[in-house]
């Protein structure tokens, strides 16, 4: 008999056993994002074989798949119908899965313009820390019945529940895409970007690095031609965007890299050797010292982001006491025995 691609019952059994024995579980699928969080000690809960696209109808703009489905498989299915995951989740390796993309909540260059992973989640099936299989949200565009538990799972890294199935809204690809490059310093470049965005130019990605501002336009061919006339710049190859999306760009390979998520208009100092995306809202910076306090003062937050093994250090911005308290209570509501990826996000969660 061929091995089934539906491992839901096996996953449930293991979680129930772990609940009974209070054994912590390390949730793993493609293992391409192990760097993005603190080390977890425990028994492995493997999702890699739990795979398959369950439903996809292009006219619905919705795809539903098991969490262990590889993103590459999902994207080629969408590609056949000229559709895409508009939030551009990173594939750090070709093993990257849908479950990992949603659990990490990471989104690529288009995020500031088209939305983040959490914006495209319509529904999810999860197994909570008691081994209960539950379904929230659905496959429709609008659904306000009950709390939005499926979106709550995005970025929770499995600490509230193990994702088994996910429904995402997908979008049509645009007719055309062009990259424009400008020789300009970062501060001036971001002023231009703000003006263009305010004008409603069809921008879907931006990057400033080493004196060059790159801007991606996605729309109909006529509309892009119209925008080019207004914006100027040099036509450039679009090769930069996959490098940023999948973080294969050389800038991401350095140690002591920090991810700063800031209000887009936060002032930019040209002498900083940063790589800036998302119209100014995402700034990558190498630093030997912690940047949590600096990010907080700028009304944003910092993440330690080294594409290596997980760490025992503080990865994510420390939470305020009242926020941490409520997050602990939410964790307890889903995982009362603290067995799902314990301490992955914070030592206390």
């Amino acid at each position: 008999m061929p091995e089934s691609n539906d491992k839901t019952e096996l996953l449930r059994d293991q979680i129930i056993r772990s609940y009974d024995s209070k054994t912590p579980l390390v949730i793993q699928a493609g293992n391409s994002k192990s760097f993005y969080g603190r080390d977890v000690e425990g028994e492995s809960l493997l999702l890699a074989g739990h795979q398959g696209i369950l439903s996809y109808q292009a006219s619905e703009l919705v795809i539903t798949a098991r969490s262990g489905t590889r993103l590459s498989e999902l994207e080629s299915a969408l590609d056949e119908h000229g559709q895409q995951l508009a939030f551009e989740p990173p594939l750090h390796t070709d093993q990257a899965t849908l479950g990992g993309a949603i659990a990490s909540g990471l989104s690529g260059p288009a995020r500031a313009f088209r939305g983040a992973a959490r914006d495209f989640v319509l529904g999810a099936k999860i197994i909570n820390g008691k081994g209960e299989l539950m379904q929230f949200g659905g496959q429709v565009m609008k659904n306000v019945a009950g709390y939005d538990v499926s979106r709550l799972m995005v970025g929770a890294q499995g600490t509230l529940g193990v994702l088994t199935e996910i429904s995402l809204k997908v979008l049509p690809k645009t007719e055309a895409e062009t990259t424009l490059a400008f020789d300009v310093d970062a501060a001036q470049g971001h002023q231009w970007l703000r003006d263009w965005l305010h004008q409603g130019q069809p921008i879907t990605a931006s990057c400033h690095y080493q004196g060059t501002l790159s801007v991606r336009l996605s729309s109909t061919a006529n509309s892009i031609a119209q925008a080019y006339k207004k914006m100027g710049g040099e036509m450039a190859s679009g090769g930069l965007w996959p490098q940023l999306r999948h973080q294969t760009h050389p800038y991401f390979q350095q140690d002591h890299l920090w991810r700063l998520s800031l209000p887009p208009s936060t002032s930019i100092h040209n002498e900083d050797k940063q790589l800036i995306e998302w119209g100014g809202a995402l700034r990558w910076k190498a630093s030997n010292s912690e940047l949590f306090e600096q990010a907080r003062r700028l009304h944003g937050h910092a993440t330690r982001y080294t594409l290596r093994a997980a760490s025992t250090q503080q990865i994510f911005q420390p939470l305020q006491a009242s926020m941490l308290a409520i997050q602990k209570r939410i964790k307890h509501a889903f995982d009362p025995r603290n067995i799902l990826n314990p301490n992955r996000l914070y030592q206390e969660l």
Partner: protein, 489 residues
Amino acid sequence: MNTSSPDRKPIIRCLQKILPTASVLHDAEDLRPYECDGLSAYQQVPMVVVLPETVEQIEHILTFCTKQQIPVVARGAGTGLSGGALPLENGILISLARFNRILKVDIENRTAVVQPGVRNLAISDAVSQHGLYYAPDPSSQIACSIGGNVAENAGGVHCLKYGLTVHNITRLEVITMRGEHLTIGGDALDSPGYDLLALMTGSEGLLGIITEITVKLLPTPKAANVILASFADVATAGQAVSNVIADGILPAGLELMDNAAIGAADDFVNAGYPRDAAAILLCEIDGTDAEVADQLAQAQQVLSRSGATEIRVAEDEQQRARFWAGRKAAFPAVGRLSPDYYCMDGTIPRHQIADVLTRISELSDEYGLPIVNVFHAGDGNLHPLILYDANIEGELERTEELGGRILEICVEAGGTITGEHGVGMEKINQMCFQFNEQELLQFHAIKQAFDPDGLLNPGKGIPTLHRCAEFGAMHVHHGQLPHPELERF
């Protein structure tokens, strides 16, 4: 209720220490306006209404209520359609009407910081001079408050392209029943830890009181135009909706009206609709000039291929406004057809539209109650309007039963009982169909993390298992008794 009940007096006295005397309403005539929200079928006069003006006052009210174990209901503009702001006889109603200021407009970051009582449309009005607007546009946007929009995760005509409230806010200031202040989300595009912004949005006032909101602003599209396509039957129009989306067009709005709605709207505002059509689609395209020109042409081709009997593109801004005026006036227009109507809010996968509309029409015949359809077809969000007369004995009850059956059809079709109006008081029984007991218990566990005493808007949104058991006892679903493990009473 007995408004002079003696145990109310010490509570009123304590509230008068927190708030100016005039901000604590307790006379029967002052309380009466608060007895219902936009769903007037449910009415209950609250024990007391308070009108705080500062965050500190809200905090003190909540900690006082926690200490005294008094339930609390928050109310914005009172336009909600599911009874979410229905007061409690033994509870305090907090009106956020005085939190009505726009605190900051940040052009550089394209955001605005607003208080929860600010009207939805007032935000766009305040920023239009900068070429910006706030995208979610529920049909009550002239009156509804942004705080209520967050509580319900309100949608509108434009959500297929621009998203719901949850996609258009970045930060909330919240106070819990215990008086904790939480900053949820922030000024950056994402925030660390769990996504409580998503959890709060659409939580129907069960988790905390929202005191401040940062909303995203979008640049007003350079161009927009609308196509009016007529169809000889509703099913063909439903199929055309799917075809437009499958062709790669993302309309800013895609609305369907059936023949009864067309006639009513045309009588009301003289929209110039084709009155003999079985259904019309309004397909709005917006974006840059070139985008709009390209996609209008593409959409016309698809609609024509999909069997439209007539296709009209608005020739100028006036005609566009007229086409939309009919759609926007459709609910009040239908109100003239019948003494009362009941608006449903089920959402289904788009490819089920034709099928579900046929089943709704069969149910309409079975119950002898006319149903008018005018809805957000692009989202699959149905708004069947059941026409009835509340003065006819038993007709409201039959209407509610018919409504319940329509919602069950939506769930069976892979959809949901509510797309944008919320569960509130109205659809609390139907929640028992959509969720099993483990899921309901998980909801209650979340509620407990925020409000361990269950004092915020109790009885709304999430049913207790006992309620589901009681409901199930009178309503057997597919011959299966829901929650057979529970005792019946």
